[in-house]
Symmetry: C2
Subunit: 328 residues, 2 copies
């Protein structure tokens, strides 16, 4: 794979190796326009470190930079591939697949990172955006096998730790998260619920259908299924993991979530934010999401690494194919 | 600075360069214990990529890996320094300062990343933890100058976009975030507030005092001040930045926050989670936070890069000194 800069200027921050081998940024741009969507003075956005021309209107986003690099191998060898890792932890590959421009972008973990991606990508591309996510997830029911892929159809809910619930009662004045439907409290309405569950954000149905089709074609339909996703604000408390060091009150959280949304299949940390921002984008972003099942929470099964590597490569290729063949 | 592995085994994931120069993980461990705090089979935690002995009970956490590397230069040259960057975006330096062990850890951005740090550090260290954060922030009042440092005294509130508010009314059944004190809605109680504000989480007062003392000593007391912090769930909508591409309803958000918490001085994306988890830690974590002011939101001023680099080095040294001199 040939890595080239695709724009006139290098967008890379200058880096220097000092005498002991530590890599240090030696130039950091002062930015402008802090009350809107700021840019560095070289016109790159603050966090992705990209400017116009370096990102396509069709974007596949993943977590790990390693997965982005693996999937980028499917890009056409005949066209230059732009590649950039920003100091803020975003790795971008932009090239073509079947002659259509596409970007593969690793964002790391968590909904704030997805927010950076969608916001900054929206600033940099004039056309409508298509964004799909290919992440990893835990399965919430025993029949969703590790080593399969779940497409988030119809979309995603989200679960968030309610920090106010962990403060001493009575309510401190100025608290705003009181009086919420106490779904996770065992029904005592005067107790603040320790977790908040937000309503479903829908995936684009046509793009979702395209992901399902290509994934089934590539992986076999028995390894691909649909289901509601839930994005959690953390990997630990809001995913119902037990940790005696902390007051988490999450013993019944997975049960409550499954009761409330019987079609819940997968749990991860990013897709909800993508779908919610697409919805808030004044119809300028269409989005859908799929995830590789790396663990099954009820059974404790974990995917072996050979199967995971296969799904990253083959599933990633199917995700890219769905994106570039999609007629917007 | 001499970089050495401090343990018996290398904790680094094996990486290979393939023929075209792309860096790919060639070995990824399957993990165990997915319903608690999982570990890889080499005993490292899943995200920090560390195991016992590689992290100290005194931790300074920052955002950028570059800042962690700069600050790590103050560590004693006479002792080995352990260094590791995990595939999940965490960079750790562990060494000694004034002969006391300390870790400097870059976590990237967002509250989920802080959650990974606190949870996995707590698993790896048997002693009580002291964790301080040295981040960057925007100032919320004109008199907090760029190029100064704000210590989050008494602590931090948080502001979160309420995704339910951006769904069409009436309330979809199953929504849980209704009926919240409508602070950011102009007072119409039937409208779901577009932002949720969570109550203050207090910093450890003694550790906060120690940070203030060392920072004032190092930087001059005129460049250090106290103030309530607010951590936002994003850099954009929940920080009141304007972006016509999205439905954000955040025009009055900064005013509402300042009205509600008149001592608000700084806004960033991580400190609240640190303080909230310390509070929930059954007294096993003490925490405090400070931030370099890189932008002033009311005036639009932005810190120049020389001043920022100075504050990272000198302020970072003061933060490390406060941490290792603290008597727990």
């Amino acid at each position: 794979m040939k890595i080239e800069e695709n724009g006139v200027f290098s967008s890379h921050f200058k880096e220097g190796k000092d005498s002991d081998g530590t890599c240090v940024e030696t130039q950091r741009n002062v930015y402008r326009d802090t009350n809107a969507v700021p840019r560095n003075f070289d016109s790159t956005t603050l966090h992705l470190g990209l400017k116009e021309g370096q990102i396509a209107s069709r974007i596949l986003t993943v977590g790990c930079p390693g997965r982005a690099g693996l999937i980028a191998k499917v890009l056409d060898k005949s066209s230059p591939i732009f590649s950039h890792t920003s100091p803020r932890g975003f790795t971008t590959y932009t090239g073509t697949f079947e002659r259509t421009r596409v970007s593969i972008i690793a964002i790391g973990m968590g909904m704030p990172m997805m927010d950076f991606l969608v916001r900054e990508a929206r600033q940099l591309v004039s056309k409508p955006l298509l964004i799909t996510r290919f992440g990893t997830c835990g399965a919430l029911c025993p029949d969703v096998a590790v080593g399969s892929v779940v497409v988030a159809s119809p979309g995603s809910v989200s679960v968030m730790r309610n920090p106010d619930a962990f403060l001493p009662l009575p309510t401190p004045s100025g608290t705003s998260a009181d009086e919420i439907d106490p779904i996770a409290t065992g029904g005592a309405p005067h107790v603040r619920p320790p977790y908040l569950v937000f309503a479903p954000q829908l995936a684009d149905p046509v793009l979702t259908q395209a992901l399902l089709g290509e994934l089934k074609e590539q992986l076999g339909s028995e390894h691909v299924r649909r289901g509601m996703n839930v994005s959690a604000c953390s990997f630990y408390s809001s995913q119902g993991r037990r940790d005696a060091f902390f007051d988490d009150r999450n013993e019944d959280l997975l049960d409550v979530l499954r009761e409330r949304h019987p079609s819940l299949a997968s749990m991860e940390m990013e897709s909800f934010q993508l779908l919610a921002l697409a919805r808030a984008s004044r119809e300028s972003v269409r989005a859908a999401a799929a995830s590789i099942v790396v663990a099954n929470r009820p059974t404790g099964d974990v995917c072996d690494e050979a199967r995971l590597a296969y799904l990253e490569r083959a599933g990633g290729e199917a995700m890219v194919r769905a994106l570039v063949r999609f007629e917007d």
